[in-house]
């Protein structure tokens, strides 16, 4: 979607008007700050957090957990996805486990993961990797099996080997599915890291929110929600930038739908 300069100005105006209305209503109705803070107090909390460099440390921790979890989770998902898609035997063996794990809400494992891996970085990376794993594995399998029969026949008619069919046809053909999986996996990794921090952590944005909750600092929590939203957008853009370069040939690239195909949260 392309937005002109006028459209952009209109949008900013709309956001400003919403914030002004919010501020006015909270003041006029005297809503207590621990229920709904004013936008001005949220921005004040944001400023305090950044000027004391408190937020930077925690953002860095959560970002590192998310990216490491994403990297490990998607690497494993990609490898296993290829194995399952190409080998009936491996699929037969792994299928019951995949179905069982997929049906389970992965974040429910967070308390156990904390027990197994402690309060530090490792448990958050494991939790993030676990929730990032499934969307990519499923999409890799579906993508690798989506190749058109004509295309497979073309490769076969050229006397191509199995590996050549994989590298020259199945893998590039699966890339649109794989990138859709990576986009979901990135956001899921952030969810996994935050939930694990809620359950037990020494640092990170989730832990910070939890401790603000105990002190009724609702404005502070809102400021962190804002940061998390920005973090999510940034992480998502990492994948979409790469996708645009790699998938220049995919017709679905012409349509930019940032949230529509992302399925439910875990």
């Amino acid at each position: 979607m392309t937005v002109g300069l006028r459209g952009l100005a209109l949008r900013l105006l709309l956001i400003a008007a919403t914030l002004a209305l919010w501020e006015a209503l909270v003041r006029a109705l005297a809503v207590p700050a621990f229920i709904l803070p004013t936008p001005s107090s949220i921005f004040a909390a944001l400023y305090r957090g950044f000027s004391s460099s408190l937020y930077f440390n925690h953002i860095w921790i959560t970002l590192a957990e998310t990216l490491l979890g994403f990297a490990f989770g998607t690497a494993l998902a990609f490898a296993l996805g290829i194995a399952v898609a190409l080998s009936r035997r491996i699929e037969y063996f792994l299928y019951p486990f995949i179905v069982m794990f997929q049906a389970m809400p992965k974040v429910a494992l967070a308390p156990l993961i904390i027990v197994w891996f402690g309060l530090g970085l490792t448990s958050k990376v494991v939790a993030a990797a676990l929730v990032a794993f499934f969307p990519l594995m499923v999409n890799t399998i579906v993508g690798l099996r989506s190749a058109d029969e004509d295309r497979i026949n073309l490769m076969r008619s050229l006397a191509a080997t199995r590996w050549q069919i994989f590298w020259m046809l199945l893998l590039p053909n699966a890339l649109p599915y794989i990138f859709a999986g990576l986009e979901i996996a990135m956001i899921f990794a952030l969810i996994g890291a935050i939930v694990a921090e809620f359950v037990g952590a020494q640092s990170g944005l989730g832990m910070l929110m939890q401790s603000m909750n105990y002190t009724m600092d609702v404005a502070g929590q809102f400021s962190i929600l804002l940061i998390l939203s920005m973090l999510g957008l940034f992480l998502n853009s990492l994948v979409t930038q790469l996708r645009r370069r790699v998938l220049f040939w995919d017709p679905s690239q012409q349509v930019d739908v940032p949230t529509a195909k992302k399925g439910g949260a875990s």
Binding site: D150, R151, L154, M155, S157, L158, A159, Q164, W249
Partner: protein, 272 residues
Amino acid sequence: MHILGAARGFAPRSDAVSDAISVRHLSKQYGVGADAILALRDIDFAVADREFISIVGPSGCGKSTLLKVLAGLISASEGSAFLNGTRIDRPRRDIGVVFQSPVLFPWRSVLGNVLLPVDVQQLGRERMTARALDLLNLVGLAGFERRYPWELSGGMQQRVALVRALIHDPALLLMDEPFGALDALSREAMNVELQRIWLERQKTVVFITHSTAEAVFLADRVLVMTPRPGQIGDLFEVKLRRPRTLDVMTSEEFGGYVRRIRAVLNAGGGIE
């Protein structure tokens, strides 16, 4: 030469060069037991080196199945097919195939698509790129090598597919209704172009179509197939002079060939 064909009353070929393809008592059955469907029954013919043969028939007459057997993509239930004396039992590098749809890979440029057989058969891109550009020029696509398939029209895409089938200089070109998806005008233009390329490159071509006019226009000989089960209804020589122009299609002689095909198809219950 070709004793079997002569014995069966099929038209003899004009020249005495050796057979490129020979198909001997070939049958193909899908499934087993009561559900079995006989797709091809006792197909028996030969194609001379550098001959252009059209196979024409209605849908379901097994002509695509026959082409898949010739391409080595599926195996025959009985009998066999030979290319230059060796049995076709798997895909071979000396065969080029053009399918109904262009089957281009959108992630490869026009040149990349043309060089696909070169990559698969590891013939060396450096050596073959000049040849690829030469062939693209031959089909009127000079300057399009850096474009991508989705930027081309259907006719241009099918030309790319044709160049791809020629790039590794196969002994045999198999074409499965390659222009079926094109509009009538582009189709006629492609027929003229294919004839020109064939005259220039002199390949053995097996061309499958359901258009009687296309079959006659292009071929040295026409093999007519009738359905249920797919079998040979007729095999005759087309004695129109080459190069043929589109005007030939309105001639009395041309009409005679087309009527002959129709008569065979009608007798075989092929017209639905």
